[in-house]
């Protein structure tokens, strides 16, 4: 008797997210890609032969893989020490630093283009490095965007990892490095794999940043799909490339999934609060009182300081400085202008109103993403006994990552051909504005899943079994075992989802109503128009977006802090 409602409950947890993803992702994408393979009512797959016989295609696929692999590798290498310093150690200003590293993640690419390129361009402050238009510049920019994904995803698990295992290893004589390598690193494995797969998908589908920073010689599958779809409407070629993209992305997800499941197991999580009471100690003090840089926090602290200051802060400060310069003098004029609609009415609303729109839309999107993503994470965190069940759970996990790996153009154009009367409902969703938070949520869901899942999976199943044996109903197990532990990662998930929605531009630019533009859309409009006033306003508005993001992340940290201190 007890199992009927239970099955129904799990059924809902599976069906609701799948229906959402089906209507707002799978159906539009499949319809558009299908159009490319149907000519005069016949299926025509000759596009494959044409596209694959072009040497350019292979170069594009190669470049896509190369830049995504390098971008991911560098982000992980730099991000893991960052996760340690920002989440495992305690020091003054840590909260602010955590918020700052999130800022690049939400900046519109046009603005990152200005922030980066005006530094790197010949005659710019860093022009002597000759990085402008190089492959290295693309990789650096990809790290600029994605550093925070690694730091937050890995840090989220690290801060709750029970330190006693590592302490035991140390007590038994292992060197700090060895203790890290053999005890801590394997425990962080799932989170690192999680972060790496997200970053890889972001890098593989990066569009604006590749075009702006790399110049045109570094075309990727994504830029090619964009050009073939929006400029030539050559759906035959675009569809083949979309399939190639899907294959590449799926292959990566499968590999990442394997890597995760091999490592994933119940970890010993510190039960009541994050283990952050470890002070940042730069030097290792040996028993005889001598100080050595090895074994202390000096190396990770230096690496992190270098990344945060040079890679993240320099471009951001450059942006702030430029927003404060008007006609060669310091001025707040650009900020004062944010209360206006721009030179000669460039915008339909003021920048502050656009910021209000952004906050409203992002709140709705984050709410959708947390509900849907939370359900997915809950289902995927289970380990069914039967093989088939395990496979199904693995597939569900991968399917919800796909929105990060499929071109925003394919999704956007897919909306146009499917959502004129969705499911026969006579509302033209395409032009209603209601799609904006939905499209943002589709992108934010994978982030929620990836932040909550490592924590849920790390819960020792014996805890749940013990609760059941003691007579707790399944709902009560969820409430008393899963929920309290997952709740701590929820702050992170909400923050992430909110930030992703705040900065989302690709799909939003297709869907936002001109009378209610979001902040990134307003910035794009301003910078696309001549006149010093509009340019200054675009930069000032970007700084507002950056500050807004930092504030939201700080707030999310606060919420998390309260929860941690509570009864949970």
């Amino acid at each position: 008797m007890r199992s009927a409602p239970r099955v129904a409950l799990w059924g809902v947890a599976v069906v609701v997210p799948l229906a959402f993803l089906g209507v707002f992702f799978a159906w539009p994408v499949a319809t558009l890609v299908g159009k490319g393979f149907v000519v005069d009512g016949h299926v025509d797959l000759s596009g494959f032969a044409d596209v694959f016989s072009a040497a350019r295609t292979w170069r594009i696929v190669g470049l896509t893989l190369l830049q995504a692999t390098l971008g991911t590798a560098v982000s992980v290498l730099l991000g893991v020490p960052g996760a340690y310093v920002l989440f495992r150690c305690r020091w003054r200003g840590r909260g602010l630093a955590r918020a700052v590293v999130t800022v690049p993640f939400v900046l519109p690419t046009v603005v990152v283009g200005v922030a980066f390129r005006s530094l790197l361009v010949d005659g710019g402050p860093l022009g002597f490095l000759h990085l402008d238009g190089t492959f290295a510049a693309i990789v650096l920019a990809l790290v600029f965007f994605n550093y925070t994904v690694v730091v937050r995803t890995v840090g989220g698990l690290w801060e709750r990892l029970d330190p006693r295992a590592e302490q035991a290893a140390r007590a038994l004589g292992a060197s700090p490095w060895r203790a890290f390598r053999t005890v801590t690193l394997p425990a962080l494995g799932p989170a690192i794999a999680s972060a790496a797969s997200i970053v890889f998908l972001f890098c593989a589908t990066a569009f604006g940043v590749v075009l702006v920073l790399g110049g045109i010689q570094y075309g990727t599958i994504e830029t090619e799909i964009w050009i073939q779809t929006t400029q030539f409407l050559d759906l035959r070629t675009a569809s083949v490339l979309s399939v190639v993209q899907l294959v590449v992305v799926s292959a990566v997800l499968v590999v990442a999934g394997r890597a995760r499941s091999r490592r994933e197991r119940a970890l010993s999580l510190a039960s009541d609060r994050p283990v952050d009471d470890r002070r940042l100690r730069l030097w290792h003090r040996a028993a005889d009182g001598t100080r050595s840089p090895w074994g202390g926090d000096l190396v990770p602290a230096l690496v992190t300081a270098l990344v945060v200051v040079v890679l993240l802060l320099v471009p951001l400060v450059n942006l702030v400085v430029r927003s404060l310069r008007v006609d060669g003098a310091w001025s707040l004029a650009s900020y004062r202008a944010l209360g206006t609609v721009g030179d000669r009415g460039a915008l339909s609303v003021t920048v502050w109103e656009a910021a209000g729109n952004s906050l409203r839309t992002a709140s709705v999107a984050a709410a959708i993403a947390v509900v849907v993503g939370g359900l997915v994470a809950l289902v995927v965190s289970r380990r069914p006994r039967r093989r088939l069940g395990r496979r199904a759970v693995g597939a569900l996990d991968a399917v919800f990552m796909l929105p990060l790996g499929v071109s925003a153009v394919t999704v956007g154009f897919g909306f146009l051909v499917t959502l004129d009367r969705p499911l026969g409902i006579p509302i033209d969703l395409r032009t209603s504005g209601a799609l904006v938070p939905i499209a943002q949520a589709v992108v934010a869901i994978p982030l929620v899943v990836r932040s909550v899942l490592p924590v849920l999976r790390a819960i020792d199943p014996r805890l749940r079994e013990a609760a059941s044996t003691l007579g707790a109903a399944p709902g009560r197990v969820l409430r008393t075992v899963d929920a309290p532990l997952a709740a701590r990662s929820l702050g992170l998930a909400i923050g992430f989802a909110f930030a992703a929605s705040l900065g989302e531009f690709g799909a939003t630019s297709f869907l936002a109503r001109p009378d209610a533009p979001t902040l990134p859309v307003a910035i794009f409009t301003l910078i696309g128009r001549p006149g010093a006033g509009n340019y200054g306003m675009a930069l000032a508005a970007s700084c507002v977006l950056a500050a807004l993001t930092a504030a939201v992340m700080l707030l999310a940290e606060q919420l998390r802090g309260e929860r941690q201190g509570g009864e949970l």
């Binding site: 005659g123 075009l211 400029q231 030539f232 146009l416 004129d420 001549p530 340019y535």
Partner: protein
């Protein structure tokens, strides 16, 4: 399926008309012609909601639009869909379930693409000035047609930074060939024709100037002379161009003939940049009524409104283009500092549609490699 959709559209139109009629009665307005007219080819009702699909750069004065809505009984919903190319392609893609009733922003580089795909309904606006008829587009297949109504136009030209050339004591280049000279090495930045509408316009200018057989050689020589290609106008103008606020390194940029009106000196007596009028391609932007529009009568009125003296006089400030109406007023800075080319380079719209993809691909092969 089609029958049902049409039936639904009719029901909606009737509903809209009833509502509009009721509102008109309630407001005691004298708009007697708002009542539904019998079906037929003659009078079409012209009130109610209209969705105007346009590109990202579209802009209109709010008060002006509100005044038009009040006077006409039409409510205008604006939907922006990318640049001119994206806009056209999205309309082609959604032909069977149109995104709206009227369109503004298809330009002459995409005009026949839209016409051949059957995206537009015929409409010749009575408000079209005689002078603007030169911009009407025909196709080789159908002669001049009434599908697209010219609204504004402008020239895409190379711009130079006067200050930079004065400081360096170097004569400014004036022609396309000048740019290939060694003294102008590493000075030029343009936009990619595959990703930017001014980039495409300039590629067409070089095709017109150098011929289909010669344009690639010109581009190869320019590449050898240190050409920089950016993906979009923002990037080229604000990051690489020395004459704009970004203070980049290059004094020659691909922009518009109107751009110098926005780089005025402090006292507004001169401008610090100028357009090279021998390097220009003329862009014309069109409006039209979409085939399958739910409210075609009101969509026609919206096209008429875009040609009205009130809107035409705001085009320079709102759209950075020149109005087609000779009676429209221009800002003073434009009259002084934004001259049009006497003889812009021209490519037949039909040829553009036929060869666009081919030219861009050839260009990519030659310049990007």
């Amino acid at each position: 399926m089609t029958g049902r959709a049409t039936g639904r559209a009719k029901t909606l139109t009737a509903l809209a008309l009833t509502v509009a009629g009721a509102l008109a009665l309630a407001g005691c307005t004298s708009d007697g012609d708002a009542s539904p007219s019998p079906t037929g080819t003659g009078a079409v009702a012209a009130t109610g909601p209209v969705t105007l699909v346009t590109h990202d750069s579209f802009s209109i004065d709010k008060a002006q639009l509100a005044a038009f809505e009040k006077k006409s009984g039409i409510t205008v919903k604006i939907v922006k869909q990318g640049d001119a190319g994206q806009l056209t392609n999205q309309l082609v893609l959604t032909k069977d379930a149109p995104l709206g009733d009227a369109v503004f922003g298809i330009d002459n580089t995409f005009a026949t693409r839209a016409m051949e795909a059957g995206v537009l309904a015929d409409y010749r606006s009575p408000a079209l000035p005689k002078d603007a008829e030169q911009y009407l587009v025909g196709t080789h297949h159908g002669g001049a047609t009434d599908q697209l109504t010219p609204i504004d136009y402008g020239d895409v030209c190379l711009n130079v930074d006067h200050t930079w050339f004065t400081t360096k004591k170097l004569a400014e280049p004036t022609t396309l060939d000048d740019l290939l000279k060694p003294e102008y090495k590493d000075l030029t930045v343009v936009e990619n024709p595959a990703t930017s509408s001014p980039g495409l316009a300039f590629l067409l200018a070089t095709v017109a100037a150098k011929g289909e057989d010669g344009y690639l050689d010109w581009w190869k020589s320019l590449k050898a002379n240190g050409l920089k290609v950016d993906q979009g106008w923002e990037d080229a103008y604000y990051t690489d161009f020395s004459g704009a606020d970004g203070k980049g390194p290059r004094p020659v940029v691909l922009s518009y003939s109107s751009s110098p009106a926005y780089t005025l000196s402090k006292d507004e007596s001169s401008t610090t940049t100028g357009a090279l009028l021998d390097t220009c391609f003329r862009q014309v932007e069109y409006a039209g009524v979409l085939a399958g529009a739910k409210n075609p009568g009101a969509a026609q009125k919206v096209v008429d409104f875009l040609l009205s003296p009130e809107y035409q006089s705001t085009i320079a400030d709102q759209m950075y283009m020149y109005p087609v109406s000779p009676d429209a007023t221009l800002p003073t800075a434009w009259e002084k500092f934004a001259p049009l080319a006497d003889k812009p380079w021209v490519v037949d719209p039909d040829d553009i549609t036929t060869h666009r993809a081919e030219w861009i691909q050839e260009w990519t092969g030659a310049v990007v490699g």
